[in-house]
C-alpha cells in the first residue's frame, strides 16, 4: 500500500509529508486539525537512525506545537537485525521513543497510529503500540515474527504454526485478530479522514486495550487477571 495514497485519504485538506529514505515526516490537515505525522515506508527495517529520527519528530512537536495531535503511519518489517544496532543499544533507542510518546500524551498530545501495510513486533512496539489508539487498513498484517523463525526458536513444527495461523486469532497475522484482541481499535476503510477525525475525538488516553480485548472476546483473561492483581 502506497503511503501517499493513504495520506491523501487521511488528510482531506492536504499534507506536506515527505519520504526521506524510509522515514515519513511532515504535517497533515484533517478538517480543521493539523497533525504531526511520522512513520515509515518500504516495509522499513527500524534501526537506530530511524528510531532517533522518529523521536526527534515527537520532541519537536512537543516543543514547538503544544497539544498538536501526532499520527504514526506504520509500515515495517520489524527491527533491524544487525550486530551494529545491538552494539549501539537499539533497545535503548526504542525505549527513548516510547518515553517520548508517553510524555507527549501526558502533555496533551493525542497520539494515533495507522498500520497501512505491515507491522512486526520490534518495529512497532515503541511507536504504533504506544498510541492512544491504533487502527489498521483492512489488508494490513501484524505479526510477532515470521513463521519459519518462530518454528526455529520455539522448536514447534512449522506446519503446526502455519495451521494455527489459519485458525487461531492468537497466531493469525491479519489485523482483524488484533482488533478482536483489543490492540487495534478498528479496521479503517472508505472515508479515512472521517475515521481519523472520529478517532481523535474518541480515543482514550488510558490504556483500554485489555478491556476491549475482553469485551470483544479475543483476549479473555488479561483484564480480569490485571484487575485481580490490582485489587487483591
Amino acid at each position: 500500500m502506497e503511503w501517499d495514497s493513504v495520506a491523501k485519504r487521511l488528510f482531506d485538506r492536504g499534507h506536506d509529508i515527505v519520504a526521506t529514505g524510509d522515514l515519513l515526516s511532515g504535517t497533515g490537515h484533517c478538517g480543521d486539525t493539523t497533525f504531526a505525522v511520522v512513520g515509515s515506508t518500504n516495509h522499513a527495517e527500524i534501526g537506530v537512525e530511524l528510531t532517533l529520527a522518529m523521536a526527534r519528530r515527537v520532541i519537536e512537536t512537543m516543543r514547538e506545537h503544544p497539544n498538536r495531535p501526532i499520527l504514526f503511519l506504520i509500515d515495517t518489517q520489524g527491527q533491524r537485525l544487525r550486530h551494529r544496532d545491538e552494539l549501539l543499544g537499539i533497545h535503548h533507542y526504542m525505549a527513548h521513543l516510547a518515553q517520548c510518546v508517553e510524555l507527549a500524551r501526558s502533555r496533551g498530545h493525542r497520539v494515533l497510529a495507522l498500520v497501512y501495510d505491515q507491522a512486526l513486533s520490534g518495529g512497532f512496539l515503541a511507536s504504533g503500540m504506544m498510541a492512544d489508539l491504533c487502527a489498521a487498513l483492512p489488508g494490513a498484517e501484524i505479526r510477532v515474527m515470521n513463521l519459519a523463525a518462530m518454528a526455529r526458536v520455539t522448536r514447534l513444527p512449522e506446519e503446526r504454526l502455519t495451521a494455527l495461523a489459519k485458525t487461531s486469532p492468537v497466531f493469525a497475522p491479519g489485523a482483524v485478530n488484533y482488533v478482536q484482541m483489543g490492540a487495534v481499535d478498528a479496521l479503517w476503510d472508505g472515508d479515512l479522514a472521517a475515521r481519523l477525525a472520529a478517532a481523535l475525538r474518541d480515543a482514550s488516553s488510558t490504556d483500554t486495550r485489555r478491556e476491549l480485548g475482553r469485551a470483544r472476546g479475543g483476549r479473555e483473561l488479561a483484564a480480569t487477571i490485571a484487575e485481580r492483581a490490582a485489587a487483591e
Binding site: L52, I59, E86, L87, C100, T154, A222
Partner: protein, 292 residues
C-alpha cells in the same frame, strides 16, 4: 543463595527485600496458568513465570515483579503480562517508593504470539505511564537468560537499570540475528563477542545501565535501594537531553564494529582488558570515561 545469577525468581525476592516484608499477590494457589500453552501441549506454571507482590527494600515500600527465566526463558505471555500490568495499576492507589522489576526474559512468548506481543506492549506502556506520574521504576538484570525482545525495550523505559557483568540486555538475541543474517553478521556461539555487544559491562560503559554490580544478591539489593532513592525525572527536558546523548552516541560510535572500539574511544587504552577487570575497578575507571 548468594549469587543473583543462580537464584530462582523467588530466591531473588528473598535476597533483595527486607526479611519478612514480602507479601505475594496472586500466589501459585490462585493457579493463574496460561490457557494458550495447554493448547500447544506445553507445560504451564501456576504463576505463569512471574512472581508479583509488595514488600520493603531497605525500608522503602515497593511493589515488585520477579521473572522466572527457567520457565520458557522468562518470555511474557498473556497472564504474565497482565500480572505485571496489574501491579502497576496497584501503584496508582498504593503509596510506594517505586516499582522494582527483576527482569529475565527473552521477550514476547512466541507460543502465545499475538497475545504475548500485546502483553509486552501493555507492560512497556505501564512503565512509561508510571514514570510520567513520578513513580520510579527500577530494573535488575543479571540472570542466565538476559533481557531481550520487547522486554529489552521495557527495561530501557525504566528509570534506572542495575546490571551485573553476567547480565545481557538487548533487543534481538544473537541467535535470532545469526539465524536471520548469518554467522558473519553475529556469531552467537562466540560468547566473548556476545558479552562485548550486549553484556553488562558494555551496557554500563555505553550508558544504558546506571549501575554495575557484582553477582551477589546483596549487591543488587544495595544498588536497587540507591536507584530508588535517586528519584524520578522524566520530562521534556530529560528526553531532549537523552535525544542529544543518543545522537552523539550514533555520531561517535556509529561506524564502530566492536565493543572494544567503543571502549577505546571512551578512554580505555587497553580495551581488551575490560572483560578482565573486576566490577569495582571498572566502575572506578569509568567515572572519568562514561558516555552518558
Amino acid at each position: 543463595m548468594q549469587s543473583y545469577y543462580e537464584a530462582t525468581a523467588r530466591e531473588r525476592i528473598v535476597g533483595i527485600l527486607d526479611e519478612g516484608s514480602w507479601r505475594e499477590i496472586l500466589p501459585p494457589t490462585t493457579r493463574t496458568l496460561s490457557p494458550h500453552l495447554a493448547a500447544l501441549d506445553l507445560p504451564a506454571a501456576f504463576d505463569d513465570g512471574v512472581v508479583i507482590g509488595s514488600g520493603a527494600l531497605d525500608n522503602l515500600p515497593v511493589l515488585l515483579a520477579s521473572q522466572e527465566g527457567g520457565f520458557m526463558g522468562g518470555a511474557v505471555g498473556e497472564i504474565q503480562g497482565a500480572k505485571i500490568v496489574g501491579l502497576f495499576e496497584r501503584a496508582k492507589a498504593q503509596r510506594v517508593a517505586g516499582i522494582v522489576l527483576l527482569l529475565e526474559s527473552g521477550g514476547v512468548r512466541l507460543q502465545e504470539a499475538n497475545a504475548g506481543l500485546i502483553a509486552v506492549s501493555e507492560v512497556i506502556r505501564a512503565i512509561c505511564a508510571a514514570r510520567v506520574r513520578g513513580t520510579p521504576v527500577v530494573a535488575a538484570i543479571g540472570g542466565k537468560f538476559g533481557c531481550f525482545g520487547g522486554m529489552g525495550i521495557a527495561a530501557g523505559c525504566c528509570t534506572r537499570i542495575v546490571m551485573s557483568e553476567e547480565g545481557r540486555l538487548g533487543l534481538s538475541g544473537p541467535e535470532v540475528i545469526e539465524t536471520a543474517r548469518g554467522v558473519e553478521e553475529f556469531d552467537s556461539l562466540d560468547r566473548a563477542l556476545v558479552w562485548r555487544t550486549v553484556g553488562g559491562k558494555h551496557r554500563f560503559l555505553l550508558g544504558d545501565c546506571a549501575m554495575l554490580v557484582d553477582d551477589r544478591q546483596a549487591a543488587f539489593r544495595e544498588a536497587l535501594a540507591r536507584a530508588l532513592r535517586a528519584g524520578e525525572n522524566l520530562s521534556l527536558e530529560s528526553v531532549q537531553h537523552e535525544q542529544q546523548i543518543l545522537e552523539e552516541r550514533l555520531a561517535r560510535f556509529g561506524s564502530h564494529t566492536d565493543g572494544e572500539d567503543i571502549w577505546r574511544d571512551l578512554g580505555f587504552d587497553k580495551p581488551a582488558n575490560v572483560p578482565l577487570l573486576a566490577t569495582d575497578a571498572l566502575v572506578a575507571l569509568s567515572q572519568q570515561t562514561r558516555a552518558a
